[in-house]
Symmetry: C3
Subunit: 344 residues, 3 copies
């Protein structure tokens, strides 16, 4: 890597340079790990001590950390964001050329832009459309009728089932499945009869989807992922869920069907979201929330029973199971105390 | 699509026709979305208002909704079931012919019915048997010794490990893994020694298995999935679990080893089921249930702490951790009140 | 299978033989299922009744069960461990020869030991190094720059993303993904900007990783899995998590980023572990623990609200939501009782 001067990095990220702008940056590192030619950053006051002793050639900091900064600095109102931009400049996605690997299996009816790369062992079905500069990694399966916009990147072994539509610049990590049949059955006495799942999955622009995620197609109508939504690993999204723009969802979250989530929401890991709910904009669920009702008002909501020493937990659970009794005892005490007072 | 007349649909689903039986139906839609040539349905009284204004060419309804029905109707005791049957008639699985795609990799010892389709990039191991009309989608891996009955459909990128046995008409969605080694170790001081996992996974008839599910083979003896069991996405099933006929399990449920589940049970999403339990027939766990004991009696069981505003939750958890103290305070109050009474 | 004599089994596992050492063992079975030529074992006193009636040709037992043993016995201090060793002797991993299947897609720059097997449809990227006796199963994708030590076994359809490093004798089950991008974003007003994920995943020796697991690469620095760590199915591990040697983690556990777990820990199924925590050595979380704080001291910790009959649960949850009120009522009662006493 040839590197980029601090001057150029400052210019391209709207940061303010303090120090020697001719220094060439070739890498990034933590405050304690970075050395010659590397840039680091301070995003948590917790690590302020480390700033004073860093050997990095430059650091990205807030203005109020300048006084203790021992090296060249890029000052920014949002050092984390500036770091993200700089790391993207220094470490772009590995270059690739358009074309189809000799071992890829491409249906002749597929419409693939010549600038797109179809990797080894990838399987592209009938009537698939793939836009400009897309990257379809090794072992991906793109079923008939899928459409993807420009600049999408399917890392490896991603499955898009029939008719899935991706917007532009969608990134999907290995093992993810979009468009599998939803869990839809009608009851016929004791047996379940499959309800055909006739909708698709529609994904907006600039979405990122983690490893081994599963997003079901709509039953009737579509499952819809808004623009700039970020999904972590191993998320389960049932049929006809809709996720609003800019919402970010951490790993292992599970959604039952037809729930609608607003914009700019966040969900911590392993939340469970029941079906047919409405979650408003700017609603935030902390990790492990068990969401069984609609939450239309912005706010922070939480659930779950955090870890205690096993003995204490066993006692707490035993008390919980007798909670009714305890409440009745307090009722009784109040009644008796009232009687006592009245008798006097 | 040529469509099917209402007369024929009524006849094939045992529904009662009210209106013009010569109308040709080519599609389905919601009450508010369906138009000319489409059939809709009313399965929740919540949507009754929409029935009166639907533009659908026909609707599937209960007899007591006939009076407000503005269009042709198929009347049924179970409109959801009738809809499922009609949607299956209108939208059968896309046609395919028997044969082996030129890029499939098939061991010469495999016994594949000529009516079965082996898709592009599928890998079929030694001594595999594949029945009549099976569909093995792109990128599936069928390891040596697997046997599947007639009419199975593996959508894409499914893995069946050595010796897995499927009944008839089993459907499996992308990313599912059947027959992986169970989590079995013996302790040797501080280290874990792998216990060879020698059983297999046996799946009954008419089972459906969701995307990215993982079902481990038996340690000794088999992991057994009964007939007509339905498994949603991202379920983890450990070695030697047994699931009874007609049981339906929603997404993200996890089972520890050797638990036996009865027939016609249901489990909501993200339930956790401990090992070596016995769950009887007709037991129902609502979503997120933490099942740590056997439940042999039919019934509905629940667990988990649903979401509250974050402040309230923090207070509730703090109280829970001091539950012991509260109970002692109530004990004390009762004693003192008793003493007071006796002193009088 | 030719079988192994009891004499040889005793010798190779340091067990003490009681009975006829010339008996040839060809298989294993449960106490009730094993017959001629098979060996069984007793590892739970619960099954002691079955020992007296077993038809197995031999059993692995503790010395104190010898008196009721009706057949040949291998006596061991740890029958489960002895069983594991014997089952490994009787059922070694199926033999394979070194070489590359004709349908594997191997970059010419890859450095593959001639003793390693590269299975059908496997895809091996640029500059990959594969050690002695490795087994790369069908459909695996090994991205550029990955390095694996001797004796690794990737069962099928495993994905190793760029630069992943495996130690020796690592076993990985189908669908697992190592090295996917972590969930790292900087906030730019309402939008999320991706932070490039520049670290890798480093795995120690003798690690086993379950089906459909997802382990993210480090953001800066690496995600590290220690020696002899065992991971069950469908585990999510975020960027920069570190797991200490000999720790075993059951299915569906999810880790947020940068948490460090000590040595010889165990975690039951579906635990959730928040980010940036420190978990000490010999810490044990029972299933479904919600771990939101560091736990540095050895011990057993638990969380979660186990299942109750639905009606009882609804009441318990309602009480929990009014916990504050109950505590205030008890405060009040204490105050009034104190006042009463003082008035007297």
């Amino acid at each position: 890597m040839d590197g980029i001067t601090l001057n150029d990095l400052a210019h391209q990220t709207d940061a303010t340079l303090h120090g020697d702008g001719s220094v060439v940056i070739t890498g990034v590192g933590s405050l304690t790990g970075a050395g010659e030619g590397e840039i680091s950053f301070l995003i948590s006051k917790k690590h302020r001590n480390e700033l004073a002793e860093t050997a990095a050639s430059a650091v990205i900091i807030s203005a109020d950390d300048l006084e203790i900064c021992p090296t060249n600095a890029l000052v920014s109102d949002n050092p984390h964001l500036t770091y993200a931009k700089i790391a993207n400049l220094l470490f772009p996605f590995p270059a690739y050329q358009g074309g189809v690997h000799s071992t890829a299996i491409v249906d002749e009816s597929a419409d693939i832009d010549p600038s797109a790369w179809i990797g080894p062992g990838a399987i592209i079905g009938r009537a698939v459309k793939i836009g400009v500069d897309c990257y379809i990694g090794p072992g991906c399966v793109i079923e008939p009728g899928c459409i993807m916009g420009d600049g999408c990147r399917l890392v490896a072994r991603v499955t898009l089932c029939r008719g899935t539509r991706l917007g532009q610049r969608v990134q999907i990590h290995p093992g993810a499945v979009l468009g599998s049949d939803g869990f839809g059955y009608a009851k016929d006495n004791t047996q379940w009869v499959k309800v055909p799942q006739l909708g698709i999955v529609e994904v907006g622009d600039d979405v990122e989807i983690g490893a081994n995620v599963a997003i079901d197609r709509g039953a009737l109508g579509n499952t819809i992922i808004g623009d700039r939504v970020k999904l972590d690993n191993l998320i389960h999204m049932a049929h006809n869920v809709e996720i609003g723009d800019d919402t970010a969802i951490a790993g292992c979250v599970g959604f039952a069907g037809s729930t609608k989530v607003g914009k700019q929401c966040t969900m911590g890991g392993m939340c469970s979201i029941s079906g047919h709910l409405e979650i408003g904009d700017n609603v935030h669920f902390t990790g492990r929330s068990m969401v069984t009702r609609s939450h239309k008002k912005p706010g922070v909501y939480s659930g779950g029973l955090p870890t205690m020493p096993n003995r204490d937990w066993l006692r707490a659970i035993a008390h919980l199971k007798r909670f009714d009794t305890l409440v009745r005892r307090v009722d009784e005490l109040e009644t008796r105390l009232k009687d006592n007072s009245e008798q006097k």
